[in-house]
Structures are given as C-alpha cells and as structure tokens.
Symmetry: C2
Subunit: 209 residues, 2 copies
Amino acid sequence: MSDRENMRDRIKQATAEVFGERGYDGARMQEIADRAGANKTMIYYYFASKEALFTAIFSENFAALFQLFNSILQVEAVDPKVVIPQLVHLHLDFLSRNPELPRMIIREIQSGNPVVEKLVQSSFSRFGSQLQTLREEMAVAIREKRLREVDPLQTVWNIVALNIFIFIVRPILSAAFPDEFADAGRMLAEREKAIVDLMLYGLVPRQEA
Amino acid sequence: MSDRENMRDRIKQATAEVFGERGYDGARMQEIADRAGANKTMIYYYFASKEALFTAIFSENFAALFQLFNSILQVEAVDPKVVIPQLVHLHLDFLSRNPELPRMIIREIQSGNPVVEKLVQSSFSRFGSQLQTLREEMAVAIREKRLREVDPLQTVWNIVALNIFIFIVRPILSAAFPDEFADAGRMLAEREKAIVDLMLYGLVPRQEA
DNA sequence: GTCTATAACCGGATAGAC
DNA sequence: GTCTATCCGGTTATAGAC
C-alpha cells in the first residue's frame, strides 16, 4: 500500500510535471502514466479525457496562485520598504514550490479552452476590486511621501515580471549560466535580494553631484 | 505577381505566427498553409519537414535577437540615466516588431531539439565575453558614484524580465485589462516609461524624513 | 511551381478480461 | 482497480499529374 494507495494523486502530480515541461499538445498520456508508475488506462479510470485531466490540474494550480495574489494584496499601510520585501518573498516562495506553474499558464492561456477563459475572467474580476483598493492606498502613500509617484498597475506588473522571470526562462539560464544555477537555493536568495533592491531604490545613487 | 511572388517568405511569416501562438506541437501545417495563402504541399516544396521549418524560423529569429543584445551591450559610458532609456527602447522596439518571439523561445527552449540547444550554447558563449566587459564598465561606474552598487548579471536579467513581460502574458493581460490594451501603441509607451522609471529610481522617494 | 489523392504513422480513447 | 489488445481519427509527408 505504501506507494500504491493514492494513485490518483500520483497521476495529478505527474500530469502537472509533464504538462509543465511539454505543454498540453506535447504531453503524452503514456509519459504521464509512466511517471506516475501507472498503466495508461488507469488515467482514464480516474479522468474522462486528456482535456478533463488538464482542466482539473490547471484550475487547481491557477486558483492557488490567485488565492496567493489576493492575500498578498491585502495591504494596510503601503510603505514600500516594508511591503515590497514581503510581497517578493511570498511570491518567490510560492513559485519555488510550483516552479512549473508560470510556464504552464503562459503556454496554455490562449489555448481556446473555455474553462481556462472562464478561470481567467473570474480570477481577474475579483482581482479588479482589490486593485482599486490598492490604487487608493498607494495614492495616500504618495501624498505622504512614503512612495514615489508611480502607476499602481504598472508597479504590480513590474513585481510579477521580475518574480516570474527565472522560472520562465530557467531552461535557458541554467544552460547559459551553469555556475549561478548550480545551487538553486542560493541563486533564488540572490535573485530575491536583487529584485527587492531594484524595486526599492533603482539604479541611480541617492547622493547626486 | 503582386502577392504571389515571394511565397517562401509568406510561409516563413505564417510559420512564425502559428508557432508563436500554438507552439511547435500545437501548430498544424494546414493552418500555416492557410495563413500563407498556399497549398499545404507547397510548404514541403520549400522546406523538408515541419522540424526543418521550425529550425529555420527559430534560428533566424533567435539570431536576430542576440544580434540586438550584442549591439545593445556595446556601451561605452555606463551612466544609467543615459543608457537605460536607450536599452529599454531598443529592446521594446524590437519586440514590438517580433511580438511572438519571446513566447516562441520560452515554449520551445527545452524541446530537446539539438539545433535549439546549439543555438543557445553558441549565442551565450559570445554573450559571456560581452558580459565580462559590462562587469568592468559597471564596476567603474559604481566607483565613480554614477551607479548604485548592483550586480551586473542580475541587472541584465531585470531589464529583460521587465521588457518581455507584456509580450509573454499579453493574452492574459489583454483579457484582464481590455481598457489598457485597446490602444497598443499608447500602452507600450506607458510601459516603457514605467520600466525606465523603475530601473532608474525605484519606489523609495529621494528626500527622506 | 502548384495541385489532388493517399500513404504511413502516431496518440487518445475504449472494450473487455481478470 | 488494473491490465492487454485494439480501434479510430487526425496529422505529417509523399507520389504523381498538370
């Protein structure tokens, strides 16, 4: 029973891996079965089809990501020096536990799968109201000189862009800079530091001529 | 003759589009033919196979991108206030002319295609020496207080991350924020401004308490 | 160079035994 | 719940006429 007891979960795990690596179209049911240590037919015992399997795994992961985003955006006092390090850390931590998720989302987002469309729609409609709150908080922070005069939406995009980058291009980067990627934990820590530093202070020195 | 004269080029253009949208595995030779206004057989008249077609288009685009990177990195004086706006503008301009390229690269980079592997290897080995030069230039700039004490490699990653972001997640963003994406030119200009502003100054105000 | 028809193959899905 | 054997549709690729 040790391994065999939760075949369904092992299939889900294998599915996430293979879809993340190969994309929906490139994924083979046979490979998913192999990695789960199962017979191909077993997948069809638990899931109706490849499409249904994908939808289940994608929905689950996408929901988890947006749950994180929503909890992250519940910020009371917008002082960048306090908030930014927290935000970056939470997001990177989540991503390092789901490293294949960004590539999967990016790959499959324009697949035409109606479930995916609906998921994006509903996630972002909730996200919209959160964003409005953030706008107001940031406007206050700007007036009180705790924050430079920046656009809230662009700022959110910037954080996300910087955070997801290494996960999205990991295959390129680890081939191009093997030294930096030899120790994944160390690399992630350095990346986190660099992102926070950029977000807070930019490149131009404080004391100018 | 008007349209028909350079069928080969139209096939290449259609290929880039379809591979960008659907990925290698999702792309259908029939759809490429349709978009090129050609018969499917014509593709095989000009290219040996789907694989060969992909390799040709990928190599070409990837080479163009790295040519840009190399020309961009030939920077004499590293004063961020001068260099950053130029870098960001050149990169975004290139990307807006090849909007499908980042997604295509990210999708296909771990495909196992040996041509892709070799391309990445050779591109980055040349990039490596450029990076060494950049390190030295930046070290000087830091000593002379024109630049904050930042890591050169991380800084390059940051610029690339911020620049490619909207192209990579465009399908999500245009669905989630239709207003912002209604006018593509205006959106790109605002994005450029936001990236340069962040890179230079970060979020923390200059004059502190 | 361009087309129609078709071969060859592959991968998702199912039937049915145990 | 798990397995073997097989079907069927779709996709790349080619043969061969014009």
